[in-house]
């Protein structure tokens, strides 16, 4: 056994608090260690070259690199030693940066700790065995969850590349939030004009299947071979027959809140969200339907020319197999009413959210693009925009910046002037202007100069009604004065939150998410569209608040990553899996009961006995069975009980 140890300085990141050189010298003394050296940057080209040289020239049979977290560079180094002819699993990483140099200050103590961490790694690599991956066939179909602009973009890219894509959308039409927007910044081009063609492309693409009004219920399997249960919700309308003529909608006698117009208007119990909906199919909201609530009516059934209405329709579970899954579940608008009583908590009619204002500005919206006060339907003379409502506000549990509000407010301010005339007074209360995008800052400048929008630096502390106006009391921090603006209409730049139900969906897919329900990428810089679950990717605002260009860009990036994965016909499975020593198995089947992936199976041996056997391609390597087996006859490759004990001993021997 010839072990080589390589200690990284990582510039001063490690060497700053850990004596890397001294560490290398001490490591050389360890049992079975034949070579030990310190390098400035082990992950750099020269660093890796040094390791490979040492392997070849000194015939190393095991390698330990003491540097950063394995989550950072384990893959890099395994590849590195493999190229030098070593089995990649005969390599171990000692994390002396995140777990040592970065959290300590005392050089001496930190170095001592680092030394023990290295000893643990050496102990582990000493008992390591060469491992070999299995190869499994890859299912090349892709599931995209969420049919917003991000989901559509990923789907189109993948479909054009020849993969079969299924879009699952929980609403009855794709399009997402972008479909609700009027114009887009900084170009002021109509949102629908850009989006709807893409929606139609997706609908007509031979490689894309859209499952609207459906949700993902269950996901099993693993990268390359996911099994997904998709729940088709009961629309009470047979979509194979429905022709989207809207006749039912016109004739339906019962009103229902209009989600698409974010509550600005009412729609019918049977409805199609908007004329360009894709697919253009009707849905009955049973909780508002007269027939379902009072047992009389059936008007839609009578007027439907296609006989598509089906009051008996039941939801159904469809099972599909996929090789990869893309999360594109998008965003929701921050529910400001519950959190901002000082802004009237929704009680003041003429205080509306940014999204509601989008609908009001929209020519095909409930007001036909006419901007008016909800209280008296008059055109506002003074409009006040308030930024950072539900953003950068820890008192409502939203410390993060929603990143789009500054820009959409500038856009809405400009549109206000063009809708209500240049003589309209427009104020924007802001804390900081965040215009970091191509042409963004210029756009804001236009708002300030060309359109004479008055930017006031400061938060608004209170809204109250007086003399038919909404009094806006805030501050101009640059003047150092408290200010009051009597407004006709107040638009809150309500921030972005993760989509409703995002975290429970994350649990269904076993991907991690932050405290706000945004999905966690596998590395913030280097793996921004991957998750820690192989085969599951991220696109758009489900990862963090994003504007349209960023979402689309990321969506295409995601598509590329999916293609990289599915370009291969076979996938190497992780060799870190459980194996059963059948000679000691007592057939208690506890492993079968506990395995979340039902990897263990009963296997009949020649001698007629049945013993447990783990299906390599199904096992995910969690090791639950290992800890459960009463006779310890299951072992987890790469994390054997011995290797763990050896590490613990190393810690405690000193």
């Amino acid at each position: 056994m010839r072990i080589g140890v390589f200690i990284c300085h990582c510039g001063t990141n490690i060497a700053g608090t850990v004596d890397s050189r001294g560490l290398a010298e001490r490591a050389a003394e360890l049992k079975d260690v034949v070579h030990s050296e310190d390098l400035m940057y082990t992950c750099s080209e020269p660093g890796q070259a040094a390791i490979q040289r040492a392997i070849k020239e000194l015939g190393l049979t095991r390698v330990v690199v003491a540097a950063c977290s394995p989550h950072m560079h384990e893959v890099t180094f395994r590849r590195c030693v493999e190229e030098a002819g070593l089995n990649p699993w005969l390599f171990e990483m000692a994390n002396i940066r995140e777990h040592c140099s970065w959290i300590h200050t005392d050089m001496e103590k930190a170095t001592e700790k680092a030394y023990e961490i290295v000893k643990m790694a050496v102990a582990k690599v000493r008992v390591a065995e060469p491992l070999f991956s299995e190869e499994v066939d890859v299912n090349k179909d892709v599931l995209v969850i969420g049919g917003g602009v991000a989901g559509i973009q990923t789907a189109l890219d993948l479909a054009d590349a020849g993969l079969k894509v299924t879009i699952v959308e929980r609403r009855s039409t794709i399009g997402g939030v972008m479909a609700q927007l009027d114009k887009t910044f900084p170009t002021i081009d109509c949102s629908a004009c850009i989006l709807t063609p893409r929606m139609v492309d997706a609908a007509h693409h031979e490689n894309i299947a859209i499952m609207a009004y459906s949700e993902v219920d269950r996901v099993s399997g693993y990268v390359g071979n996911f099994k997904v249960d998709i729940r088709r919700k009961a629309a009470m309308v047979d979509w194979t027959k429905c022709i989207g003529c809207e006749l039912c909608m016109q004739k339906c006698p019962s009103q229902a809140p209009d989600v698409f117009n974010s509550g600005l208007a009412e729609t019918k119990a049977i409805y199609i969200p908007f004329p360009q909906a894709v697919p253009k199919r009707a849905v009955i909201q049973t909780e508002y339907c007269r027939w379902f609530q009072q047992g009389k009516c059936r008007v839609c059934e009578r007027v439907c020319p296609a006989g598509a209405i089906d009051y008996e329709q039941k939801e159904e579970i469809v099972q599909r197999d996929f090789g990869a899954i893309v999360m594109a579940t998008g965003l929701d608008v921050f529910p400001w009413q519950e959190h901002y009583p000082q802004y009237g908590g929704g009680q003041i009619q003429d205080v509306i959210s940014g999204l509601q204002y989008e609908r009001m500005l929209n020519a095909s919206g409930p007001t036909g693009g006419h901007v008016h006060r909800l209280s008296n339907h008059e055109e506002p003379k003074t409009v006040v925009f308030i930024q950072c409502v539900g953003s950068r506000d820890e008192s409502v549990g939203r410390p993060y910046c929603s990143s789009v509000c500054c820009m959409y407010t500038a856009k809405q301010a400009i549109l206000t002037k063009s809708h209500c005339g240049m003589d309209t007074e427009v104020y924007v209360f802001y804390i900081d202007i965040r215009a970091a995008g191509k042409g963004y800052e210029e756009f804001v400048k236009r708002a300030q100069t060309e359109y004479d929008v008055k930017y006031v630096r400061g938060r608004v502390s209170k809204l109250y009604e007086e003399g038919g106006k909404v009094m806006v009391r805030g501050v101009d921090t640059l003047l150092g004065e408290q200010v009051e603006v009597p407004a006709d209409l107040v638009v809150l730049a309500s921030g972005i939150t993760s989509a409703d139900g995002a975290s429970s969906l994350a649990q269904t897919l076993n991907i991690s998410y932050d405290e706000y329900g945004f999905y966690k990428e596998s590395h913030p810089k280097l793996r921004p569209v991957e998750t820690n679950t192989a085969g599951v990717f991220l696109a758009g605002a489900c990862q963090s608040p994003k504007d349209i260009p960023t979402s689309v860009a990321q969506a295409s990036g995601t598509a590329a990553k999916v293609l990289v994965l599915l370009a291969k016909d076979k996938l190497k499975t992780s060799p870190l899996i459980a194996t059963v020593d059948q000679s000691r198995c007592v057939s208690c089947w506890k492993c079968l009961n506990v395995c979340p992936f039902s990897a263990p199976e009963k296997q009949e041996l020649r001698d007629g006995s049945t013993k447990s056997h783990v299906i390599e391609t199904v096992c995910q390597g969690c090791g639950i069975c290992v800890a459960t087996c009463p006779v310890n006859c299951i072992s987890l490759k790469g994390f054997t009980t011995d290797s763990v004990i050896d590490q613990i001993e190393e810690v405690l021997l000193a």
Binding site: R392, I431, G458, T477, Q482
Partner: protein
């Protein structure tokens, strides 16, 4: 002007310890100023005070009218998006100014002194007597004078304040506390 990093740092630490709030967290949105009812009497708006504390302009703040005239309505604290206890900071600064016997703006100091002397003297606040003392001291002799007679008429004033039992203890508390505070300020 130049910033004094050391003063700022020690000040921040001090406020962290005494008020359990971090002025460094202030990002100058001005919500406190927008909410403040007394801001019209201030020489520095609350967010300016926060800023001055961040860069260590403590002397200026301690002698400011703002600190003296804050009415402790707590609106700033209630609405701060960074959950800073602004009112708490003001209260603390005021006590420091008092202990240091700094030359704070006229009326406020007089008001407080008149009040506390009154309490120390009668154990309870005798409002009429207090107002009288205040007006004499602040030379606003006729301040609220028009209210005097009607108040008497409506029996809202007690003309000859009587000592409450426990007055002596209050006086003692008052004396001990003040001595203690001043000695401490000398130390620090």
């Amino acid at each position: 002007m130049r910033y004094d990093a050391e003063v700022a740092a020690s000040l921040r630490e001090k406020i962290l310890r005494k008020v359990k709030t971090d002025v460094a967290a202030c990002y100058q949105c001005g919500n406190c100023t927008g909410s403040c009812p007394a801001v019209f009497t201030f020489d520095y708006t609350p967010n300016q005070v926060m800023r001055m504390l961040q860069v260590g302009l403590v002397e200026e703040v301690l002698c400011s009218r703002s600190v003296q005239l804050c009415v402790q309505c707590l609106t700033c604290t209630a609405r701060c998006p960074r959950e800073i206890d602004v009112a708490g900071v003001f209260e603390d600064l005021k006590t420091v100014a008092y202990a240091r016997q700094l030359d704070v703006p006229e009326d406020a100091r007089v008001f407080n002194k008149a009040f506390l002397d009154n309490v120390a003297r009668f154990g309870r606040l005798s409002e009429a007597f207090f107002l009288l003392r205040y007006n004499l001291a602040s030379r606003h002799l006729l301040n609220d004078a028009e209210l005097g007679l009607p108040m008497i008429a409506k029996g809202k004033v007690q003309l000859l304040p009587r000592k409450a039992r426990g007055t002596n203890e209050v006086a003692r508390i008052y004396r001990k506390a003040v001595e203690r505070a001043r000695s401490q300020e000398k130390v620090s």
